[in-house]
Amino acid sequence: MIRFEQVTKSFPATGGRESMVAVDELSLEAPTGQITVLVGPSGCGKTTSLRMINRMIDPTSGRILIDDQDIASVNPARLRRGIGYVIQSAGLFPHRTVVDNVATVPMLLGTGRKKARDRAREVLELVGLPGDFAERYPSQLSGGQQQRVGVARALAADPPVMLMDEPFSAVDPIVREQLQDEFLRLQDELGKTIVFVTHDIDEAIKLGDQVAVMRVGGRLAQLAEPAYLLAHPIDDFVADFVGRDRGYRALGFSEAPNLPMSNEPSVPLGTTPEEARAATSDRWLLVVDEEVPQGWVEPARIEAPIEPSMLDRGGTVARVHGPLRASLDAALSSPSRRGVLVDDDGRLVGTVRAADVVQAIERVERPEIDPAEIAPTAAPVE
């Protein structure tokens, strides 16, 4: 567990610039084995807060404890070797191969070269960079691959704590989403205590077990689980920052109950027009391949056996007990207005209508508001 106790960091006035408070009386706990996300606009002190945990910056006042030990009493270099550190542009060493980059911390800790490199290869495999990537140089990798190496390098010495400063914000949105998903999968496996800084509230909500929203001037505005944050932003600043669509986005946290499903007639690829027209009385017919939904066709308009190129692929597919957001989206995006639901292996289970999903949504309990937050004294208003 990482605990901030009334931590303040102010930078003294230098050459024409006024002195500045970057972090103001910050108190919070990052629980062991969980992801705590610090999020806020630029200038809110989130990165400064992060960098105080590994003593890249020392606080002006207050204490930071890792597992009840005051980090001010630990030698900075020794402290940092026990904490994984991932930064925005990866910061790989251009003169070292990927495997030597990853082996850096184990070697600093005195592991032999051979053993450190073996370990590095293991970790590289873990982040999805197997085999011949190890001998490449950073300049030969894409941005996303460099970022994976950055994560591998932080994991190499198996530190219990990881600090991540906007690790995914320099890559394009598709790669970012991939990296985020893999990061969550990895965290499921490894259970590190992670403090993660981002300016992107969507990323914060997706990744965080808890989210700390910070405001300019380095003050903590709200610390809560993502679903709670979406349901009960504590003030206008947080509400604004959390943004539009929060009602819809909150559905991402509610697992779908047993939705009223209908059996959907379906035909395999290669079905002739006659067979297709016989299979349904509706305008749209679902096409599957080994029970996995592929897309929709209009039987009335086809003249040849069904091929993949004839399919309307506009509809999304949701897991039966996945988030309500996905079920609703499946219904809304489907050309037949029937949302396709599948099991965990991707096989067709049935379809659901938007109205039924909405009914289910209305029955879902919103996170209960913490009574302390409605008490008139609790929330300081600016």
């Binding site: 900075p76 270099a77 940092r80 990866a90 910061g91 060493f93 003169h95 070292r96 600093l108 300049s139």
Partner: protein, 253 residues
């Protein structure tokens, strides 16, 4: 003329003896090497330290302004000031001023190379190195210096070229080296010797540069090379169609 130079260079008699080419070539290399060594011992740690600590960067600018001082004038001044300080039968009254001048000549490129080399290391790499728990010395040895090597080498190569070329002037205060052929050749109207020595100086400088180039290839990490070769290749690929479209008169390459 070329024939005369060739004859001079290939005449075995010109190569032997105390005034022969071999001996003076060795002298020339010795002055140059010694000056470069002293300059390196001063400039490389200093440039590295200035860049690593971010302090006293005015020193780099100041050293650069040294380039404006004419070497020959400095040589006569140093020789006048210092030669009386040495007694006995030695070369020192000539050697010390020459070495000082050549060292002063070599310091600015070496200092600038070391300084900008360390300075231009990717700040993110430096930040990551510190954040992973490297001490200041480890950051310097394991990250900053290896990444600074390409620029350190370019400083060293330019210093070497300048020193080898300029070492000829040491002859004007009574020292040997290849410059002696120039001095005597011009004084005695033996132009074949003067021109031949000039050719030798040029060849020597190029050979030294080539040698350093080979060392650089061996010492600098391939990871620092790939970026550059790759960008160059890309640039060439981009440039070709445009150059073709512009027609032969505008195609510079």
């Amino acid at each position: 003329m070329i024939n005369q130079i060739w004859t001079w260079l290939t005449d075995g008699a010109n190569w032997s003896g105390d005034d022969g080419i071999t001996h003076r070539l060795v002298q020339h290399l010795w002055y140059s090497g010694l000056s470069l060594l002293i300059a390196g011992v001063i400039a490389l740690p200093l440039g590295t330290w200035i860049a690593h600590s971010g302090r006293a960067s005015w020193l780099v600018t100041a050293a650069n302004s040294l380039r404006a001082v004419p070497s020959l004038g400095l040589l006569f001044a140093a020789s006048m000031l210092l030669s009386s300080k040495f007694t006995g039968d030695t070369d020192l009254p000539y050697l010390v001023p020459s070495i000082i001048v050549l060292t002063i000549l070599a310091i600015p490129p070496l200092l600038a190379g070391a300084y900008s080399g360390v300075r231009e290391v990717d700040p993110a790499a430096r930040d990551a190195a510190r954040g992973m728990g490297m001490t200041g010395g480890e950051v310097l040895r394991q990250v900053e210096l290896p990444n600074a090597l390409p620029l350190i080498f370019s400083g060293l190569r330019s210093a070497t070229l300048q020193v080898i070329a300029t070492a000829t002037i040491a002859a004007y205060i009574g020292l040997g080296g290849l410059g002696a052929f120039l001095r005597d050749g011009i004084a005695l109207n033996e132009y074949d010797a003067a021109a031949g020595a000039s050719v030798l100086v040029a060849v020597l400088a190029l050979a030294a540069d080539l040698l350093l180039g080979v060392v650089q290839r061996l010492v600098v990490s391939p990871g620092l090379r790939t970026t550059r070769t790759r960008t160059r290749r890309n640039r060439r690929a981009d440039a070709t169609p445009a150059a073709a479209a512009l027609g032969p008169t505008n195609a510079r390459s």
